[in-house]
Amino acid sequence: MPPTGTIFDIKKYAIHDGPGIRTTVFFKGCPLDCWWCHNPESRHTGVERIEVRSRIHGADREIVKEEIIGREVTIKEVMTEVLKDVIFYDQSGGGVTFSGGEPLHQIDFLTALLQACKDHHIHTAVDTSGCAPPEDFARINGLVDLYLYDLKLMDEQIHVKLTGASNQLILENLSILAQHDLDIQVRVPLIPGITDTEENLDAILAYLDRLNKVNEVCLLPYNVLGENKRRKFNLPQRLEPRQTQSKDMLEVCAGRFRARGYLVHVGG
């Protein structure tokens, strides 16, 4: 019996999750609990029911609707959707990105999906927090064309406080991956005043320099959508609302990495 898994979305024409036109499969379940999480629907493993409150334009009353978040799917169901857009992947040098949540959190399901993509000659990317057992990475390395690897905070204590876990495992996994012949793009979510500080970015740079393997970095400007979504999911607002970075600020951040010879994308 091939494994099933829980996902919360399959997004087509995903143009910010790796090269070309892609389909992104969002896995449900994540070991981290980032205060700024912009995909709160990915937090918990398994299908959830939530109450959504909305106001119809111009009306006084609030409408409460139950929404089911996530669905359990088979490999075949996911691949049916994925295969529909092969012509777009072929044309654009795109493929499939497994994101989440943390895709490695459902390792059997992920491995089977990656294998199915490889059987169809589809380019694969895995967007990971890095927070997974090293042996799980070892299982999929041969099936992954590109890792989109998140680095958030280099200070371990702050990392524990704001994401609920240490960054040790994340950094170890990345150094192991760096020893293999794998394409890795490091992604840094820029959370104003938290991850976009000079100190943190310099620490990330120093770490990447030591790895001497990663040469592509993607800076993700702060996404106010997360605040919205957290409200919808009735999750605690642990961060003060903040604005996305200005163009100038983004340029300063990008310039730091460029100056050291990294290829930088801003905004995925």
Partner: protein, 787 residues
């Protein structure tokens, strides 16, 4: 753009369209003089044309480089009483309607009442058409099953090839004389009629030469009185040009443009042809003049730009002739659909993009005028540079240029029997219509309301809006056991109304051929001269009559909802369905919700609805394609709406896709507004499930906000999206880059904008799914982005 162009452009933008009766008055004078009665109809038409060009006011605006207006001033728009004699009520409506109005002054109204109406009433072609068509046709027309393109505008729908850049009108006259000499009065019973047609063409050819001569004289006079030395020289140069062309072939870039413009004015003065007229593959035709001019030093890039900009303004000065009634509703716009084609392939099949293509794209981007429209043909051989340049203009939110698939166009033309060379030299005109430029008369004959046919089928032949029985009794739907029973009934009903439409078209085609030949247009389209036959009578090398299907998304989703809920899931009975529709869902909110939210919809790459899409396409195709018209050609289909989906929606009651009575239908082959929820790749996959290559054009619109396209990466990926659609034989795609105003509407009416994708920081999402504060932020950003 320089100061001169800025001024002319501003003048064009500020001129409000008004009606001018100059043409109507001159035409009436000519026909009242009795001169027409002594000669054949074609010769009379040609002499009338000559009379118009001999007496119409010569308009030369200050600082102009290209001269000639259709009316006495920019945007002064003539009427064509021999085709459609406007009533005083029509004038009142034209003058006062909120959209697409034309100013009508008192003098104009009086002249219409005292001179034009008394002479033309009962003689106009429109009057003849409505007298000739039968009751069945009239009932279907009045019910809004179809529209009729030729009831107040002439069958134009053609585009010029490269012939005028090699030949002068004196050459055409030589060719006509050869044709006359070759006439076989012993073997060909048509020889006398052909001689009349050919003689008419000679009259029309001399008329244009003489018209240019009037400009040459006037320009010389102006030069004599001109104090500014630079302008004086310019005026003398222009006078020399008008003395040279169109009698002789053009030698310079400037002459080529002025020559085309006189030809254009000739065509749109002779008749109010649909889709105006159009130089077609401008970057191909003008290239030799451009290169030669640069090489011999008579031209600079800057001067070329200025001349092209001046040329652009001339198009914008000619709004589409005033339309009334159903015709105004189906095409409610000032745009007259001159669609400049760029890119594509040459006659050997090689990529045709060149340095002038890019220069013309600069002009399009800078001018930002309503007219002319522009498009870029993308073949598999076209460089990405061309596609990306076009997308970079599209992203500015101007709606132009649209993108066409050259490889599909060529296959469409070849399937219809055109030679590969004629196909490669062709393109698209009007909205999206495929044509062999310079060789084909491809007439749009009317929009066809597919959804209305389903409504009539669901009422066993009766139009529920009026209670009149206008269709076949195809069975009481309550008694249908299977979806296939309903579909068979729909297909019979469809065939029935197509039969009525085709019968009417044949009658109307003959009226045009007999009463309103077009000797001037016939000069320009092969092989009218060689055949000695008029353009309106099958003189062209290829003669195609189109019926344009409208509302493919609406009909697909409606049939799908019936199959899904009534026959497959049995969520409600046919009788219950009919009740919900007949009450416009009043008291049936839940059912409507089910139709909207819980039904497979076209546009999501879902085979359930898309199979029905294919079936409808095949039924429509089978009913129309290959049936002979009266000009030696055939009926074909294409799928586009202009604005008819709004009119057609207004005459159709509630439908099982959840659409309320009177609301617009879906447009072109685009999904029903808001029904596509799986992103653009799914829309393109669904749209490619019909066989575009068996149509003469399909129209697909996609909405994006500018942020999606704000980076090189975004443009490249959109380029890939286009290429993939074209790989699947998609015919045309247009990206509607939305404005902040649209976003505000989407905030208020989210149901209609569910397909609207916006860029949110690092990624994209459906606009209506965003929280209000984020929506507001995107609106603000969009406004800034468009500055």
């Amino acid at each position: 753009m320089n100061e001169r162009i800025q001024r002319l452009r501003q003048q064009s933008l500020e001129a409000h369209p008004c009606l001018s009766l100059e043409r109507a008055r001159l035409l009436t004078e000519f026909y009242r003089s009795g001169k027409a009665e002594r000669v054949s109809i074609p010769v009379a038409r040609a002499r009338a044309f000559a009379y118009l060009l001999e007496h119409k006011k010569i308009c030369i605006n200050a600082g102009e480089l290209i001269v000639g207006e259709r009316g006495p001033a920019p945007k002064a728009t003539p009427t064509y009483p021999e085709i459609c004699t406007h009533t005083l009520d029509d004038f009142q409506i034209l003058d006062s309607r909120e959209k697409i109005s034309f100013t009508v002054d008192e003098q104009t109204r009086n002249m219409q009442r005292d001179i034009i109406i008394p002479f033309w009433s009962g003689r106009s072609l429109r009057d003849r058409i409505f007298a000739e068509v039968d009751a069945e046709w009239r009932a279907a027309y009045e019910a809004g099953v179809f529209t009729e393109f030729q009831e107040q505008r002439a069958p134009g729908h053609t585009v010029l090839d490269d012939k005028i850049y090699h030949k002068g009108f004196l050459d055409f006259i030589d060719e006509i004389n050869v044709s006359i000499r070759k006439l076989d009065f012993y073997g060909d019973d048509q020889a006398p009629a052909k001689r009349q047609q050919l003689q008419a063409m000679i009259v029309a050819a001399f008329a244009l030469i003489n018209y240019a001569g009037r400009f040459a004289r006037r320009l010389t006079e102006l030069a004599a009185g001109e104090k500014d030395a630079t302008r004086k020289t310019e005026l003398l140069q222009m006078a020399a040009i008008c003395a040279q062309i169109p009698a002789y072939a053009p030698e310079t870039f400037w002459e080529a443009l002025q020559y085309y413009w006189f030809v254009h004015l000739g065509v749109i003065t002779e008749l109010n042809t649909w889709d105006s007229f159009n130089p077609g593959r401008l970057d191909q035709h003008l290239l030799p003049f451009y290169r030669r001019g640069l090489a011999d030093g008579t031209l600079t890039e800057e001067r070329t730009r200025e001349l092209l900009q001046a040329f652009w303004i001339k198009f914008n000065n000619q709004p589409a002739p005033p339309k009334v009634g159903v015709t105004a509703q189906e095409s409610n716009t000032y745009t007259d659909f001159c669609l400049i084609n760029l890119g594509g392939v040459d006659e050997h099949g090689a990529d045709a993009a060149n340095e002038l293509t890019y220069l013309l794209l600069d002009v399009i981007e800078e001018m930002r005028l309503l007219q002319p429209s522009s498009m870029v043909q993308i073949s598999k051989k076209s460089p990405d540079r061309l596609l990306h340049r076009a997308l970079n203009i599209i992203r500015t939110g101007y709606g132009q240029p649209s993108l066409f698939n050259t490889d599909a166009i060529i296959q469409e033309l070849v399937r219809q029997g055109k030679s590969i060379t004629d196909a490669r030299n062709g393109g698209a005109s009007g909205c999206v219509e495929t044509g062999a430029f310079g060789k084909e008369s491809y007439i749009l004959t009317g929009y066809f309301n597919l959804t209305k046919v389903l409504e009539i089928t669901l009422h066993n032949g009766v139009d529920p809006r009026t209670g009149k029985k206008i269709g076949l009794e195809t069975g009481n739907p309550v008694e249908f056991q299977m979806f296939d029973d309903l579909y068979a009934a729909f297909e019979r009903q469809l065939r029935h109304f197509i039969d009525i439409k085709i019968k009417g078209n044949r009658i109307i085609e003959r009226l045009w051929a007999e009463y309103l030949p077009a000797p001037f247009l016939s000069l320009l389209i092969d092989d009218c001269i060689a055949h000695g036959r008029d353009y309106n009578d099958g003189g062209a090398r290829y003669n195609t009559s189109y019926i344009q299907g409208v509302g493919l998304g609406s009909i697909t989703d409606s049939l799908t909802a019936i199959k899904y809920h009534v026959f497959d899931r049995r969520n409600l009975t046919m009788a219950e369905l009919l009740e919900t529709l007949d009450t416009d869902f009043k008291g049936f909110d839940k059912s409507r919700q089910m139709f909207v939210e819980e039904t497979p919809k076209y546009g999501n790459d879902d085979d359930y609805p898309d199979e029905i899409l294919r079936r409808v396409f095949e039924s429509f195709f089978k009913a129309v394609d290959g049936r002979p018209n009266t000009k030696g050609g055939h009926f074909r289909i294409n799928l586009l709406p202009t604005t008819s989906h709004v009119y057609f929606g207004s005459v159709v009651g509630a439908m099982p896709d959840g659409r309320h009575a009177g609301q617009p239908l879906s447009e072109g082959i685009s999904p029903v507004q808001g029904a596509d929820r799986r992103g653009p790749t799914a829309v393109l996959k669904s749209a490619a499930k019909i066989d575009h290559l068996r149509t003469g054009g399909t129209l697909l619109n996609q909405k994006f906000t500018p942020q999606i396209l704000d980076s090189r990466d975004g443009i490249e990926k959109l380029g890939h999206l286009v290429r993939a659609y074209f790989k699947m034989d998609g015919h045309h795609i247009q990206f509607n880059v939305v404005t902040a105003e649209t976003l505000r509407k989407a905030q208020q009416h989210p149901a209609q904008y569910r397909d609207l994708i916006v860029r949110v920081a690092g990624y994209s999402d459906y606009f209506v799914d965003l929280g209000a504060d984020l929506q507001n932020e995107i609106i603000r950003r969009t406004e800034q982005g468009l500055e």
